[in-house]
Symmetry: C2
Subunit: 158 residues, 2 copies
Amino acid sequence: MRATARAPARDVESVASVGVSLWVRLLESHNLMLADLRRRLAGDCTMPRFDLLANLEREDGQTLAALSRRMLVTAGNLTGLVDRGERDGVVERRADPADRRLSRVWLTPRGRELVQSLLPAHAAHVSELLGPLDPGERRDLRRLLGKLRDSLVARKEP
Amino acid sequence: MRATARAPARDVESVASVGVSLWVRLLESHNLMLADLRRRLAGDCTMPRFDLLANLEREDGQTLAALSRRMLVTAGNLTGLVDRGERDGVVERRADPADRRLSRVWLTPRGRELVQSLLPAHAAHVSELLGPLDPGERRDLRRLLGKLRDSLVARKEP
């Protein structure tokens, strides 16, 4: 299908329209993957709780502010999520020893066990959803999204 | 730690861990971009309404089912959003002439004017957020996300 010598329509699109179309694809890919992963998780754990535990599994002892920024939930919603997690014994708040006013959230052994029991199936579902991309495409996409994510994080930091 | 001669860590990562890390980067990029775009939109229009209007601007006359799938909102939330949009005169429901039981949502002239007035600033903000990627990287990322999105859409269709 590639009889075009060069410069298909896409090359003459403005930078702005490439950007919006990229963002729409990112938004739709995110929404479709999240809906699928949420459906499969149902029963074992709610998606917000899984997201909290998986974030702590990647980096334990984060502050509420850091978690709120990463998970895109308001401080109020995160407080409720952490409260319910403490009630159910999967996370705990502990004051930072260097600054007692700062509260950090840690996985309990039970929370770690729960998230580690869910992660293999989660990883398998993610792989299945990404299956239509070949390994080189997955590597490229991972690298490009890493660059984008890092630049977005850097914008927010002082 | 591990003076391995060959195969840097990334090459020996399992397919599953590349997948999860790709998904985390996609999720975080999405969350950071959405939070930024939402902040800038504040006042002119809520993000869910902007999302509805922008979806209809790309493809007018969608069914509630199609919009709900694309926007990742429940049927109940979408109904409320469309109700409020009708009340404010930016969208309207009309029965499909070929199947009167099927209701489609259309932009009103006022809704079209609103979304078209917001889109240029939105496009400029999106471009700014994507600025750290060079044009070739933006094209690659757009293409890879398009392939991913299309494969996710195809999974859901009969």
